[in-house]
């Protein structure tokens, strides 16, 4: 198990335990974390699981995947350098303690 921390736009922190191998999106859905919609179920087709990886974690989370840039253009909120689709971040032991910030709008 690893730990993931979701920080909502208003600063609320939600800390959940997650399975290695799961995605940051699926973990949010399984734990009822508000602010991640994930409407397409992780197919990288809806941009409703947008998150900003905390500056301290961007290297560990790795670069954007193939096609992720284009889909991020469809996100409802501002896209920053740290923007990722959380369905494309798969949890590894190295990501234990990962902090992601959530945008105000997903749809």
């Amino acid at each position: 198990m690893v730990k993931v921390i979701y920080v909502a736009k208003d600063g609320t922190r939600t800390e959940v335990k997650a399975q290695v191998g799961d995605t940051v999106m699926q973990t949010a859905l399984d734990n009822d974390v508000a602010g991640i919609v994930g409407e397409c179920g992780g197919s990288m087709m809806c941009a409703t699981c947008h998150c900003y990886v905390d500056d301290a974690w961007t290297d560990a989370a790795g670069p954007r995947k193939d096609g992720e840039d284009d889909m991020l253009d469809c996100a409802a909120d501002e896209v920053k350098e740290t923007s990722r689709l959380s369905c494309q971040i798969q949890l590894t032991p190295e990501l234990n303690g990962l902090v992601v910030h959530l945008p105000e709008d997903q749809v």
Binding site: E39, G41, G42, C46, G67, A76, V107
Partner: protein
């Protein structure tokens, strides 16, 4: 495991008139069931429909042998999988982003809605379905796609002709003759606009596809535009009419929606309650089990998202229009690779612009006789009239 039970008695006519009591019973008694009249295995629970849509390696959209191909005169992205589908879809996706809507279109859309509302008489009962829901949806789509010059009448007729052709599972010649004529008209109109879109690139879907660095073939650009015409008018039209019905028959909720400006929630609940696209087909590529039944390779399953959206496992009082739900994880936009490409547009145009504009203009409009509203449709569903008194 056994094969799914067979339902020999439900008819297409019953499903078209009012499928919801049938689905409620199926969810309780036969959530996986082979329906003889439709020749499909119906899946009526949310977990099953989501699983199928999210697992394209087993449940394929790729079926060139449906009437959609002659109706659109193309093998469209709706019936493709994998990289080929993604490439054709992403070729137009930028036109459907929240950013483009906000920057390029929102004011124009508001203007279109206002224009149509200006034409309506006060104090009279008007069929808002034909006067507003249909033409406004068509007018807005014309701009999104970059098809200026097409009338709302043409856009709506083309859309209906394509849908009728694609649903012509009896393979009768007449619907294809009609869709052929529509295809000729669309092809000619598209061709007449190409030079302008190439000379003056803009954020319409047509222009974005034509001016791409590595464009998809012309045949698929045209096919994509036709898919957007077939799929981008009736759905916002039906969603708008359904939401009007839901709000006007629940005046306490309407008051609260106005007070909180909860138009987005009213929109989501409308498409949950009566999903404009009720069912989708997938071809089964390998033997698989769903809900304790063997589903053999070669079978065609039908995800009934209309039913999933009222699944008792997820929704309390799912048969009712209830805006203020704790969670509303409906599947009206589908899931998986074929998740509705127009979802962001629909949320913004219908939810944020059209519905609030209607109530702003006619704050006391009413639906004097809700029983006069007729609902129709199995694959696509919504009201077919909406007699509202405007004041």
């Amino acid at each position: 495991m056994p094969l799914a039970p067979v339902n020999d008695h439900v008819t297409m006519d019953q499903l078209t008139r009012d499928p919801y009591p049938i689905y409620r019973r199926m969810r309780a008694e036969t959530p996986v069931v082979r329906v003889s009249s439709v020749k499909r295995t119906f899946l009526t629970k949310a977990a099953f429909t989501k699983y199928v849509k999210d697992t394209p390696e087993i449940f394929s959209s790729n079926d060139p042998n449906t009437p959609m191909k002659p109706a659109f005169r193309a093998h469209t992205l709706m019936r493709k999988d994998g990289a080929e589908h993604r490439r054709e879809r992403m070729a137009m996706q930028m036109a459907y982003t929240p950013k483009v809507i906000k920057q390029d279109w929102a004011d124009l859309y508001r203007g279109i809605v206002d224009d149509y509302l200006d034409r309506l008489p006060r104090g009279e009962t008007v069929d808002m379905f034909t006067e507003i829901c249909g033409p406004v949806s068509a007018a807005i789509l014309t701009h999104i796609l970059g098809l200026e010059g097409a009338t709302t009448e043409q856009m709506q007729r083309w859309s209906q002709n394509l849908i009728d052709g694609a649903g012509n599972f009896g393979w009768k010649p007449e619907p294809f003759a009609v869709s052929d004529k529509a295809n000729d008209e669309m092809d000619a109109h598209f061709a007449s606009l190409e030079d302008r879109h190439l000379a003056e690139p803009n954020n319409s879907a047509f222009s974005i596809m034509l001016n791409a660095k590595d464009p998809i073939p012309k045949s698929q650009i045209y096919a994509n535009l036709k898919i957007a015409i077939g799929g981008g008018i009736n759905e916002p039209r039906d969603a708008m009419a359904t939401i009007l019905f839901g709000l006007l028959t629940n005046p306490e909720q309407l008051e609260e929606v106005k007070r909180q400006e909860a138009w987005g929630a009213a929109f989501e609940e409308g498409i949950r309650w009566v999903a404009p696209i009720q069912a989708s087909s997938r071809l089964v590529l390998e033997d698989v089990q769903i809900g304790g039944f063997d589903i053999p390779r070669g079978d065609t399953v039908m995800t009934i998202q209309a039913s999933s959206n009222r699944d008792e496992d997820l929704f309390e009082n799912g048969e009712d229009y209830v805006v203020f739900r704790d969670k509303n994880v409906h599947q009206a936009f589908g899931s998986g690779p074929h998740h509705c490409a127009g979802a962001h547009i629909a949320r913004r145009t219908v939810g944020e612009i059209m519905i609030p504009a209607l109530f702003e203009r006619f704050p006391n409009m009413s639906l004097p006789d809700p029983d006069a509203v007729k609902w129709r449709g199995f694959g696509f569903r919504g009201p077919i009239n909406m007699p509202i008194t405007l004041n």
